[in-house]
């Protein structure tokens, strides 16, 4: 339906990018402005709203007592959910999470999980019996591209605010907390789109419509990576991947100051 309109827009994006320019006058490796609103829900144990340009993500964390996996009786765990809300774009549908939302949730989950920023052993209440499960749920409320980075920032911002609920007889005492959840590292995803053969950081929606491929790199700090995810039908050379990695370290370093 809207194909013709999108074609006009993506043609424009492509011709600009070939000259090294972008519609919003950013440099190819530049991010949009980021704003973070903390504690957007009192019922959450930690929460935040992130705006990355016009892309907006709500994130909230709930800690729930549960039973550990038999394999790891002394460890709690995390669970990341992501929803592309129908609010966010006329293209998103109501209903169970589609593959796009599932990929988003799983990549953000891996970035946090593998960074070991949450010590799963510290989530153990009683070995083999009771552990904390940290549910991190995120909602993309306005979609203007790069949901990976915006969701990763929102999830981390919410996680940084988490208070551990008080337990009594293994049940949560509503509204009482025993201290902050320890977050030892600041893992963040940073995404580059390949458009017209060029590498473009933090793509907008219309840039994503024009992109051939996408690569997200999670970094823990200035030297350690914790996740890769390549997406879409196009390809990258190994040199391009190397360049994407360098940009991820650089950009996430800046974003880390805000979270």
């Amino acid at each position: 339906m809207e194909n013709i309109l999108w074609n006009v827009k993506t043609d424009k994006v492509l011709s600009l990018i070939k000259e090294g320019k972008r519609a919003d006058e950013r440099k190819l490796d530049e991010y949009r402005s980021i704003s973070i609103t903390k504690n957007i829900s009192e019922n959450a144990d930690g929460s935040a709203k992130v705006k990355l340009g016009d892309t907006e993500v709500y994130a909230g964390v709930k800690m729930m007592p549960g039973t550990p996996y038999p394999d790891n009786p002394d460890q709690g765990t995390i669970s990341v959910g992501a929803e592309l809300m129908p609010l966010a774009s006329p293209e998103f549908e109501v209903g169970p999470p589609r593959e796009k939302a599932i990929e988003l949730a799983r990549v953000v989950d891996r970035c946090i999980r593998e960074s070991k920023t949450v010590d799963f052993k510290s989530l153990c209440v009683r070995e083999g019996e009771l552990v904390w499960i940290v549910f991190i749920d995120t909602y993309v409320s306005n979609y203007d591209g790069n949901a990976f980075d915006a969701t990763s920032i929102a999830a981390l911002a919410a996680l940084n605010l988490v208070q551990i609920p008080k337990l009594e007889d293994d049940k949560i005492v509503k509204g009482e907390y025993t201290g902050k959840l320890k977050i030892s590292k600041q893992p963040l995803l940073s995404t580059v789109a390949k458009i017209g053969g060029k590498l473009v950081s933090d793509p907008t929606l219309v840039e994503e419509k024009a992109m051939e491929a996408r690569f997200s790199c999670g970094t823990v700090d200035d030297t350690i990576m914790c996740a890769f995810q390549k997406g879409e039908a196009g390809s990258f050379t190994v040199e391009e991947i190397d360049e994407c990695i360098d940009r991820s370290f650089k950009n996430s370093k800046e974003i880390r100051k805000l979270v």
Partner: protein
């Protein structure tokens, strides 16, 4: 949450548990036009409740066999974020959300000139990010704003509020502590203030007709206040838009 057996005085010296008068609304903040990608949108804070609404449409209703050749459809989706309630909510929508979606959509239909939009749908998506009693009333109030923001012609705004009883007192806009009273009655009600028509009315609890008379009066007064806030929020957006020119 109040322990149900605890003896609470729900109104003491004219003040309620949170210091409000019996006919006083909780603090309310409304903002219109918050979502760039929606045709209309609103964000509303009502006490602890936090609601985001987006409207898409009017657009062709699909699948085709659901189209009505005489008037447009309102498709209302009410959802609660997992972290918006004391215990984590299952991400899948429950039966409560399905029912609220149905009656909330019905509460808005009469206010919209749907006969102008045959075969079309107006999709209203609403998410509750934080809650503390009264989220459906907050949702309808916000949705009405978002529909107006989308430029869809309306006969009137729709205002909704909870009214009811706690500790024997008839009060406006119950909070969670009041809703947990042993004798609590909760009556969400939506009103088109200009014509005084009721478009949503539900009730939980034990209530007499005399109590209903008192409660309905409070509800109409509360909705008059809400309508002023809605108009103010729409004016503010319009002024901002004008300034940008």
């Amino acid at each position: 949450m109040a322990k149900k057996n605890e003896k609470i005085e729900y109104v003491k010296n004219g003040k309620r548990v949170d210091g409000r008068k019996v006919d006083e609304l909780r603090p309310i903040k409304m903002e219109v036009g918050v979502l760039p990608n929606a045709d209309g949108s609103a964000y509303l804070e009502w006490g602890q409740n936090k609601v985001l609404v987006g409207v898409h449409g009017p657009k062709e209703a699909l699948p085709k066999h659901k189209q009505n050749p005489y008037k447009g459809l309102v498709r209302f989706v009410y959802r609660m974020a997992t972290f918006s309630v004391p215990d984590r909510k299952n991400p899948r929508p429950g039966r409560r959300e399905v029912e609220i979606s149905k009656v909330s959509g019905e509460a808005l239909e009469k206010a919209i000139f749907l006969e102008n939009f045959p075969n079309c749908a107006i999709d209203v998506y609403l998410e509750i990010f934080d809650s503390n009693a009264g989220s459906r009333a907050a949702g309808i109030t916000a949705a009405s704003l978002a529909i107006a923001d989308a430029g869809i012609p309306m006969k009137d705004l729709v205002c909704a509020v909870g009214v009811g009883k706690a500790g024997g007192e008839i009060i406006l806009d119950l909070n969670k502590t009041e809703e947990d009273a042993p004798d609590a009655v909760d009556i969400p009600i939506a009103i088109m203030p200009r014509t005084k028509e009721i478009t949503l009315l539900q009730m939980d609890g034990l209530f007499t007709k005399a109590e209903w008379k008192k409660a309905s009066k409070l509800a109409f007064e509360g909705c008059d206040q809400l309508k002023k806030m809605q108009e103010e929020a729409l004016r503010k957006k319009f002024d901002t838009a004008e300034k940008k020119k």
